[in-house]
Symmetry: C2
Subunit: 341 residues, 2 copies
Amino acid sequence: MRDVAALAGVSVKTVSNVLSGYEHVSEKMRARVMDAVSELGYEVNVSARNLRVGSTRVLGLAVPELSQAYFAELADAVIRAAGARGYTVLIEQTLVDRSLEITTVSDMRRHSIDGLIYSPLAVHPGDVDQLDVDFPIVVLGEKVVGTRSDHVAMSNIEAMKAATLHVLSLGRRRVAVIGTQPDGPVGTAASRLHGYVEALAEHDIAVDVDLIVSAALWHRENGVEAMERLVASRVPFDAVVCFNDALALGAMRALHRSGLRIPEDVAVVGFDDIEDSAYSTPSLTTISPHRDEIAQNAVDILIERIESDGARPAPRHVETGYSLVIRESSTGLSVGQLATT
Amino acid sequence: MRDVAALAGVSVKTVSNVLSGYEHVSEKMRARVMDAVSELGYEVNVSARNLRVGSTRVLGLAVPELSQAYFAELADAVIRAAGARGYTVLIEQTLVDRSLEITTVSDMRRHSIDGLIYSPLAVHPGDVDQLDVDFPIVVLGEKVVGTRSDHVAMSNIEAMKAATLHVLSLGRRRVAVIGTQPDGPVGTAASRLHGYVEALAEHDIAVDVDLIVSAALWHRENGVEAMERLVASRVPFDAVVCFNDALALGAMRALHRSGLRIPEDVAVVGFDDIEDSAYSTPSLTTISPHRDEIAQNAVDILIERIESDGARPAPRHVETGYSLVIRESSTGLSVGQLATT
DNA sequence: TGTCACTTTTACATCGATGTAAATTTGATG
DNA sequence: CATCAAATTTACATCGATGTAAAAGTGACA
């Protein structure tokens, strides 16, 4: 910047004023400075600016794994929303080391980010203190009890209830569910199970524990394995609702290999509406969380908190919408329904 | 840091020495400083350090869209590889605005990153100058002619040839191909087409232009649309090789809806080995680029160049491996082959 | 021409950490 | 106990930008 100032024959502060759009700068001065800037190919040193102004315009995003389609699509949406507000996004994967999810989150504060959007896989009660820091954080998904962080999520209970009611409305009565945590009800899995149970209750159907199948992780392979267990158990069932689409796609794979027809023998419903689900065979009925809405809200709230600068507004909790996307896996092949979304 | 120094009763430089692991610091001093650090909950200001040392330990990653599984999985691998070397990753999506891919890349230099890994969708000859900057960049995928950047890629020609030879070895003779660019042969698409042509030549089969189907983008919907066009054209074919898995999955979807059986009527082969492909029905035969190898090489080369600091080693070109993963879409359902990878 | 109000530019201090080189302490040795 | 080398610690300048406040420039009007 010194060089630019020298070339333009002005002080460095004037150059700074021109570049940061200060209003009281004469036209000829601005032109002269800009010429010098482009002649020297000068670009501001972001680190120095950050040091001086105290912010970096970088948001952190912590997700379990980008290779899971749901998180990849979420990251896509967050990057777009942040970009529209002039922020860039630094991504960290919390599951690079399974046991260190929370540590990773607090480590991120060391990076020069202004705030963090955190999509937890499973936050245990003891972890809450780690989260409750004096740093702007927006938590996505299941509300973490006890934190004062901002929070954006859909109602997992309602959405899962809607998914379950859908198969019940098709006349299915033996509805299995895949995705509970082997080590007890926590977080998202607990809420989704709750929704399932409520739906059954509404139809006066008793919960059959043999139809509740756990899955340690929510990857396709776990869906395959869970469905294989269910089929092997010989417990009769005519529908299955899965806690995410990956599980459902894996389950469909296993059903197919067992010779069971979808949806004739078993209706399948997923959760997340990842892109695959519209193109699988059969295409998958699922719950679509409004990802763009989630991302937009998270980014807006985070930036608002960052820029509120000192003022400490009360934590906000935003509930986003969802919709039930009905496809072939529950109602059968119907030409023309491919693009239903 | 000043406060920490005051509390510990030492100079700020001593604190700095302790924190940056300078070797000549006495044990009692180190302990005293660390106590003060934890008592005050002090954390270094990364911007200030960046300004002083001139680097940020952040790598940029520019990909078209994270919502495409291939790029999400690539990003995952890059983040892991970078993390292992103590770097974090800032991700930018080049297709947020289609026409501005290259601009986005040069914009990234404004962010405080030490280097950039760039996975271009399509670089046109005129864009080369923009890329040829005095800044560490590693380009992934098809080599961009004329740049002096480092470069990591598999041989698209060989890999596509292997994919095509595979269906030819199964006795198929009318092999269609999906994915050429409507506006002429460029980049990756050109190389893959080249591989296809070479394979046919090796079996003395003439290229039939009616079997070459274009796809503007390589998403599932384009695969559906391309296959619908091919089927509608009534040109006979008994196999199709697609330039990526998303196209192949879309094509399978369209085939299924046309009542054609896979692989009995049409064998399908993809390219990328995204996670879906192992779980689709039928599972998809595809080319697996060694993503971890690509990511590892890209990160290593980039960091090497960043840390070489002044010395300007000759551009490196690394060719990574690939493998043909044979699944049901070419050879039919075979129990126990699910995990073939 | 002088005064005032306003615009434009400048000089200087500062953000927080670290490199340099000099000052100080430590301890081994004659 | 004096001396010297090595180990520790310190003071100060510096990275590059921007906020502050004061100085210089401009033009309108009496």
